[in-house]
Amino acid sequence: MAGSGNNHLRTEFDDVLLSVENLVVEFSSGRKNKVHAVSDVSFDIRKGETLGIVGESGCGKSTTAKAIVQLPKPTSGKVEYEGTDLTKLDKEGMRQKRPSIQMIYQDPISSLNPRRTVFNIVNEGTRVWSTEHSQQQEIKVEEMIQAVGLDPSEARIRRPHEYSGGQCQRISVARALVLDPQVIICDEPVSSLDVSVQARILNMLQDMKDEYGLTLLFISHDLSVVKNVSDRVAVMYLGKICEIGDGDVIYDNPAHPYTRLLLAAIPDPDNKHSQNSDVLEGELPSPLNPPSGCRFRTRCPRATEKCETEEPSFEQVGNSDHWVACHFPHIDNELNAPTSDEGQFIEGNTDDEILWPPAD
């Protein structure tokens, strides 16, 4: 799964707010080794759009999100926000940009300072940035706490441990929104919450997005959640995007073998993809030494020699907003299955010979 090439990026005329081009994040590990956490990832988000990123743990979703806000700076690549390349900015330049790109983290309790009152936590950003009089600031903070469904007068005296997980996530949302950001990056915002609380937070995010005209980057490992909140969805595997496009289109007709396997695994009562009998074989390869060619080839039921030598680039599927990086995508009822002259299936990757039972 590879995903090189930038065919899927949209032109500037499309009102793109944030675009990421050829993003690479590597961490050194030991003397010579490098962890290839994110390799050559490109995507763009239009103003007011929600892009969802899904993938298993360890595929580089969170690293991508953090690289956008330069925490840490990516190894190479461009992160263009409103025409400015964030990777080229100096410390102060980036500091000036931070209020407009905010993050919401996965664990609502540990991402809030336990020793400060909730009001102070939400007020921190305005205290640093606001040019207004402090009383007006406080009114704004109170309005925001009210907007996320909490009581502002209680927020002045209470600390995070006095709130439930769902309420803490509301505080995180208030803290992010109080600076009037353009972009909110949500890194697994609901994965630690109970199902009914999850529904309330997702509805609230949608309301806030409509009210404040936000652009969202929404990261989750839960495919149903991502489908619900996103306009476009990107599927990641081992540091690369393998499929990107309109959420409904991808979920109806997944073209990448990995997306199909991922969808088949969802325990949704009405999951039509669960009929798919392919199993995800083998273990996730180490990002220290990712496979050549297509990164998914070691576990792909369709892999051939071509996948080993040549990295697929993004191609459009049909006429819709649907891009896939695969030599043999599932399109038009299997017409794209590898033919004999394109090489044989690699032994051990076929359905009838399973080397290991699936691993993670």
Partner: protein, 354 residues
């Protein structure tokens, strides 16, 4: 609650089983009168939000709750009364449990192989060599690659999915009669989750072991459990064969639980219907139906009178105004016309909670 089935067939029989914790405010009734029977070789899924009592129920059965509790009612395992007795003799021989978090439930300073072979040597008197061979066999069974090499590794060297597989092999090592899996896949990725669940069901059907799966996800239960039991506030709300719960759900809580989950078939930006309000206080709980305060169907009766059990064939539920019945539709309609329920929950005309 009466169970007509032949009791010899039932590996586990609870009747009016209760577990309470002594707290400063009074007795916290975490499990408040649960009756059920589990047949040999069948699977029961217990579904509910956090705080619904599903974990306490199962830890209570296992006898893992410590001295601070008060147990009541009756719980029979293979005909033997468990309540207020020491259940340690069943551990490692007849009862096994898989816990939610595979990292904290394995011993970090002990090789995983030894953690699996320990019960074999202790309870089945195997020699070191025999236990080792059996462990490698179990590792192969649960799909751990290179089992002989993994035997000598420590938990931190394994991924979350691998650790959960080790947990499963510990549980399966003793060939238990009953296996309780408490949210076995909550911390795992979807693809690993599917594998682990399929593995459990596969082993269960081959070995004729009984299994209880605790989960908050109705989708996980579907197709894997023979029966689904929905719990709320320490009580059973609804219990039925797996497909019946989805096709003909009777309890408004089951309906609310299902509609609060984002569904794969819905188009993007479909508005979710969360369950408003919070789980009930278990120390000083409400009168009547525990779910009444959050229920769209709630009438005055629900606030005062605890619903009696209704059983139609294999389908059991506790509700005055069940979903899909005339009484239920009338109750919902009158609440919609009024704009609020008897408990004061405001609702819109389409049944959407404000």
């Amino acid at each position: 609650m009466l169970h007509e089935t032949d009791s010899a067939d039932n590996i586990l029989e609870l009747s009016d089983y209760r577990v309470g914790f002594r707290t400063e405010r009074g007795l916290a009734k975490a499990v408040d009168g649960v009756s059920l029977s589990l047949k040999r070789g069948s699977t029961l899924a217990i579904v509910g939000e956090s705080g619904s009592g599903k974990t306490v129920l199962n830890r209570g059965i296992m006898g893992l709750l410590g001295a601070n509790i008060i147990e009541g009612g009756s719980a029979k395992f293979q005909g033997e009364e468990l309540v207020n007795t020491n259940r340690q003799k069943f551990w490692g021989t007849k009862m096994a449990m898989i816990f939610q978090d595979p990292m904290t439930s394995l011993n970090p300073v002990m090789k995983v192989g030894n953690q699996v072979s320990e019960p074999l040597r202790l309870h089945q008197g195997m020699s070191r060599k025999e236990a080792r061979d059996r462990t490698v066999e179990l590792f192969t069974l649960v799909g751990i690659p290179e089992p002989a090499k993994r035997f000598g590794e420590y938990p931190h060297q394994l991924s979350g999915g691998m650790r959960q597989r080790v947990m499963i092999s510990i549980a399966l090592a003793i060939e238990p009669d009953i296996l309780i899996a408490d949210e076995p896949t909550t911390s795992l990725d979807v693809t690993v989750q599917k594998y682990i669940l399929d593995l459990l069901v596969d082993v269960q059907s081959k070995s004729n072991m009984s299994m209880v799966i605790i989960t908050h996800d109705l989708g996980v239960a579907r197709g894997r459990a023979d029966e689904i039991m929905v719990m709320y506030g320490g009580r059973i709300m609804e219990k039925a064969p797996s497909e019946t719960v989805f096709q003909e759900m009777k309890h408004p809580y089951t309906q609310a639980l299902l509609s609060s989950i984002p569904r794969l078939n819905d188009p993007k930006h479909t508005r979710l219907t969360p369950i408003e309000g919070f789980p009930p206080d278990i120390v000083d709980g409400p009168q009547g139906c525990k779910f009444a305060a959050r229920c769209k169907y709630a009438q005055d009766t629900c606030l005062t009178l605890t619903p009696e059990e209704t059983t139609i064939d294999t389908h059991t539920y506790f509700c005055h105004f069940p979903v899909g019945t005339d009484a239920g539709s009338e109750a919902l309609k009158s609440n919609e016309d009024k704009g609020f329920t008897a408990a004061g929950l405001r609702i819109k005309s389409k049944g959407e909670v404000v």
